[in-house]
Amino acid sequence: MSLPPKLQEIVDDFAGMARDEKIETLIGYAESLPELPDRFQEERSNMEAVPECMTPVFLIAEKQADGGLVFHFDIPPQSPTVRGLAAILAAGLNGCKPEEIITVPADFYAPMNLEEAISSQRLNGFRGVLAHMKQVAVNTMK
């Protein structure tokens, strides 16, 4: 099963990087994650609290005229790893249709070999953010 082309491209890029380059690139993604647009502040303030030790991830999707989804995030700057992982998913999946998003395998990131840079524990963040995006995508299909 193939990934959406932009996401596939990012996965392939990371697969070819050395460890330090992976860290630099991930930092670049974390720093490039845009601020949450003001128009979503109300939804943001209604967000459910998350258990401690987890990074609070707020995300919301907007449906474009062609049916594609654009995701917006709010993730604290103290958690650059989760910000970086979310920015990769946004870059790879923004514009995709809900049907495409829900078919992305939960372990799509395995070939990126990111565990050598940030340890396998932190990659749970990918699963978490992707699962959340899929849930939002499913809701837009109802």
């Binding site: 860290i23 630099e24 991930l26 930092i27 974390a30 258990p51 401690e52 030790c53 987890m54 103290q78 958690s79 650059p80 790893t81 989760v82 970086g84 840079a117 940030i118 340890s119 396998s120 524990q121 932190r122 749970n124 699963r127 978490g128 699962a131």
Partner: protein, 279 residues
């Protein structure tokens, strides 16, 4: 009333005055591994609780020989003053300190408030990674008096001695089995070890700047739940990181003589066949 062992704490100003002190090694230990490469205290080095401090195969810490190799690589001598600091109220800074003490390092300290306070005070962060001249570090035999294994917990239970569960209230009650989407840190059963009292770790720190609460406040929190200095205490959480902060508070800020951290914690106990559980 002062802290029992104030020498185990330094403030941010002390660190700022010792950035170039060759007898001091500043170590950053974070939950988030990208914070250090994005900017850290000048001349500090990074350890990662998982990739640096854990055994590569077993669920355990580095062996004594692996620990010596790691410390030598970081330019640490047996006489170095080590100051730990980190994100999230110094959880993983306390975890790293606990491991260095496990292998017998003499002079270990926590920078009170950690990365949070340093950043709040707008103190500088740099990206340069210091080059450390390699040393030959000699660790001591593991100090098991500060580490509880599951058998110690069973004995503690039989003797009706105190156990402190430092997880959040929903983890203690069993309502929350594990962190959603953290399958590797899950447990097949929810709840807590029978007789354990719930004193969430966060009660020991000031929310505003991540510094530790005053000795009077700390004493009231723990003695108020009947956790006193006259008995051996075992603290646990989910993987042993939050409870190493509680261990540090009980042992060095309040001066309890016998405190152990059960690093197997709920990810071991909640999966252990035949272990008693309360909900």
């Amino acid at each position: 009333m002062p802290y029992a062992h104030p020498e185990y704490l330094v403030d941010t100003e002390w660190v700022a005055q010792h950035l170039d002190d060759p007898n001091v090694r500043i170590i950053e230990s974070d939950e988030d591994p990208l914070l250090y490469p994005m900017g850290h205290i000048k001349n500090s080095v990074q350890v990662d609780w998982f990739t640096t401090l854990q055994h590569p195969l077993r669920r355990d810490f580095l062996t004594l020989e692996q620990f010596e190799e790691m410390a030598s690589r970081l330019g640490i001598t047996n006489d170095t003053t080590i100051v730990f600091y980190g994100d999230k109220s110094n959880w993983f800074a306390c975890y790293a300190l606990w491991l260095f003490e496990y292998y017998g390092h003499k002079d270990v300290r926590i920078m009170n408030g950690g990365r949070n306070k340093w950043e709040q005070e707008k103190r500088p962060l740099v990206k340069e990674i210091p080059s450390a001249a390699r040393t030959t570090y000699r660790a001591k035999e593991a100090n098991k008096s500060i580490r509880a294994f599951r058998d110690d917990v069973f004995k503690q239970l039989e003797a009706k001695k105190p156990l402190v569960d430092v997880r959040s209230p929903k983890e203690f009650s069993g309502e929350l089995l594990h962190m959603p989407n953290y399958p590797q840190e899950g447990a097949t059963r929810g709840g807590h070890i029978p007789t354990a009292v719930s004193i969430p770790w966060a009660q020991a720190v000031n929310e505003a700047d991540a510094t530790f609460k005053s000795p009077e406040e700390l004493r009231a929190i723990y003695e108020g739940k009947n956790i006193k200095a006259d008995e051996e205490v075992i603290a646990y959480c989910r993987i042993g990181e939050r409870s190493s902060l509680t261990w540090f508070v009980l042992k060095y800020l309040l001066g309890y003589p016998a405190v152990k951290n059960y690093d197997g914690s709920w990810t071991e106990w909640g999966n252990l066949v035949d272990a008693p559980i309360e909900k």
